[in-house]
Amino acid sequence: MSDNAQEEKRPTLGQLFLQNLWAANTVTVTVLAVVLALVIGAILMIVSDPEVLTTYGYITSRPSDALNSSWTVVSEAYANLFKGAIVNPEAVSAWISGDGAWQPVFAPISETLTYTAPLVFTGLSVALAFRGGLFNIGAQGQATVGVILTALAGFLLPLPPVIHLIVALLAGAVGGAIWGFIPGFLKARTGAHEVINTIMLNYVALYFLSWIIIQGGVHNPERTDAISKPVDSSAQLPRLLGDDLRVHAGILLAVAATWAVAWLLDRSTFGFELRAVGANPDAARTAGISVTATYTMVMVISGALAGLGGANMVIGSTANALTPAVVAQIGFDGILVALLGRVKPWGVALAALLFGALRAGGNTMQSFSGISLELVTVLQALIVIFIAAPALVKAIFRLRAARAARLSTSMAKGW
């Protein structure tokens, strides 16, 4: 009798699933944030298309025109986004029917992973510092110094293949570590706020990059524009699926780095100290943990990760020489990736995958639908805005309160 009653009370797996599905848990909020961002992106596409807008001029007389034209613009763009990021059905059917090769089938995935790899590194960099109570906005600058040293090692040192690659990667990590050490040390020693210093160092690194490119011995003598010599092929990350596809070993390193950071955070003594300092520096100090040493060390490791991300940009397949824009936005994107991944290592890796996919798809969307790649930046920013304000998403979709309280990314420290 009592057994029966208990069994009736216990919800089935299906019920649990449905309950959780519509509760404000991490996954639901993330998915809804992406949906919201895509909706706003669609609105932007419509209002910025003069032809579509004219159909809205007579929407009261012929509403179907406006709706059809809007639908065409948006659906085509997002279809291209999907084709560029995950899989293109036409390529699959061509392959099955024997008309096409296998490469085009995997090309979107290859592109996605190519863009994912550096973002994993910068995302981990920001996330690790976050867990230690530091907001590393300097991943951009650390990646910049990383890319400089990697490239210099890549074309200045004559080394045999495997060793050359390792040295180039190490150079990137060291460069990033140095650039991370400065704000970490200043924070530990003088209390100078790392947010201010990392922002400033980003620009110092950027100007240093634009200076070093045009120096003799670095600048490519065959070119008149600001571009360095190309990195030797012996220092480049090997491609995984042949020369036609751009995916390279950087993605494997990224997975390894994710595992290493996860281990460092959850299993090592230093990780414990780092989390203790991040949670409450005063309590950590009382417990005998050296807060200053931890701050410095966190920023060194964080910088090294960002430096490796930078290394990916010049010995991966996106570029093989220094230009002023060689680092792209990976440092700033890394901040978004870390927030989207809820500052957990594997979460960061998944978030980087999403951003990599958006970026790869964005390229296709730009070339086939004429929708600017900038839309992807808007989408990424919107996703993170909604993630950061789960209360807003909850209110929009009337979700039930979350059981897990780990949604908030707020650090609320100020300067």
């Binding site: 210093n197 922002i199 100007y207 200076w211 808007v378 100020g414």
Partner: protein
């Protein structure tokens, strides 16, 4: 309980922490002494004996302040060293800022004597009118941006989104200015554009308690993406219809425009320059002399206390953040409604220099003005040095604002301190 009240004057004196000999003033003094001596030796050795002329006009002609290059480099280096020695010998608040000024100017002049005397023949002069005008023009967006920061941060909301506010202002100004054909309409739209970014910052930071630095960074990316997207969709496809903004002209101020050097540099300026300078004065007075200012500062330092006294903390924060957006938006318009049309990401980091100016200027309007002028001067100096084929790469002068801020924040030139509640959301409870 009489034991409590038996602390005598002697006990207090014993308990007092002994003041270190190396006060901040003395440390800075040593810095200037060393730097001044090095400048005198190094710049003096590198300088040539060409006559260095600081002309009071826009070119080589006219009256000029003259000095022999080598003599000048050594003399001004020694001057900086003397300022340092004064600081060591007579540490104290009274002299500090004066000697700091003398030291910095001495070092700069020593450096300039070297650079100008080593310039190619016939270019051994620096046109002061150009330098002053360039400094102010380059400082204008920084002043607006830093003032936006002052308004936000004095009331306790960190504003890293200055870059985004400037960019949105520049974009909205160009778009609406072109579509209406009126620069004034463009200016109004620019203010709204900046306020739009501010509104997002305010709502998410104040209502949804999102970390303000995070929100600022995300909003910058959002602004870059949104303006870039609309630029490619609208402005690139139809330049004439969307991106040929009307420009404000030069407004000369009678009488004042005839003052030597300052007249042509400052009082033949444009609406943005005048607005920036007036705003500095207005915000300074408002912040330190009015009821609004007292409330703003109290909300930024101790919101709970302010709330207890009946100040509407959140309302005031909303208002100030929006106001900051308006100010930054107008600053952004100085890019598109004065000289150029809109291009993608045209602010290019100036918003972060404005943030640096805010911090370097210690969160005060006049400090922000001086810092912005200093950064503007660094920028103008870079242009000048590359024009005379200097050995100093312009990239390094461009780094100057950022490095100066790092030094300032690290406490090497006196500690800078943010408002106490800056960045902390206020939850009424």
């Amino acid at each position: 309980m009489s034991g409590v009240s038996t602390i005598t004057a002697d006990d207090v004196a014993v308990a007092e922490v002994p003041v270190s000999f190396w006060t901040r003033s003395r440390k800075v003094g040593v810095g200037f002494l060393v730097a001044g001596a090095l400048a005198a030796v190094i710049f003096g050795a590198l300088a040539t004996s060409e006559t260095v002329r600081f002309t009071l006009s826009e070119n080589a002609s006219g009256a000029a302040l003259k000095i022999n290059g080598t003599v000048g480099a050594i003399l001004f280096g020694v001057l900086a060293a003397v300022a340092g020695a004064v600081l060591i010998a007579m540490p104290g608040k009274k002299w500090f800022s004066w000697m700091l000024g003398v030291g910095v100017i001495g070092l700069i002049l020593s450096f300039l004597c070297w650079q100008i005397s080593a310039a190619p023949a016939g270019q051994n002069f620096m046109p002061l009118v150009n330098m002053v005008r360039g400094t102010f023009l380059l400082a204008v967006p920084l002043i607006f941006g830093a003032l936006a920061g002052v308004l936000c941060e004095r009331s306790g909301v960190v504003n890293v989104a200055i870059e985004g506010q400037l960019l949105m202002g520049a974009f909205a100004g160009a778009l609406v200015g072109t579509m209406t054909g009126s620069a004034w309409a463009g200016l109004f739209a620019a203010a709204l554009g900046g306020a739009f970014v501010s509104l997002l910052l305010a709502v998410f930071a104040i209502r949804y308690l999102v970390d303000q630095v995070v929100m600022g960074i995300v909003l910058n990316l959002f602004a870059v993406g949104l303006t870039g997207f609309l630029y490619e969709r609208l402005m690139q496809t139809d330049q004439q219809k969307y991106n040929q903004p009307p420009h404000f002209g030069v407004w000369e101020i009678p009488l004042l425009k005839d003052i030597p050097v300052l007249g042509p540099a400052l009082f033949r300026g444009n609406i943005f320059l005048y607005t920036a300078l007036i705003l500095v004065a207005v915000i300074h007075v408002a912040l330190f002399r009015t009821r609004w200012g007292l409330r703003t500062r109290s909300v930024g330092e101790h919101p709970t206390a302010a709330d207890t006294l009946g100040v509407r903390v959140l309302g005031l924060r909303y208002r100030n953040v929006l106001l900051a957006g308006v100010v930054a938006g107008i600053g952004g318009a100085s890019y598109t409604l004065l000289l150029y049309s809109f291009t993608k990401n045209m602010i290019g980091g100036k918003g972060f220099i404005a943030l640096a100016a805010l911090i370097f200027g210690r969160w005060s309007p006049t400090g922000a003005l001086l810092a912005a002028l200093f950064f503007g001067f660094a920028d103008q100096l870079g242009t000048y040095l590359s024009a005379i084929n200097s050995v100093i790469p312009s990239q390094f002068t461009a780094m100057l604002p950022y490095l100066a801020t790092i030094f300032a924040v690290a406490g090497l030139v006196g500690r800078v301190r943010a408002p106490a509640a800056d960045g902390k959301p206020y939850i009424k409870g």
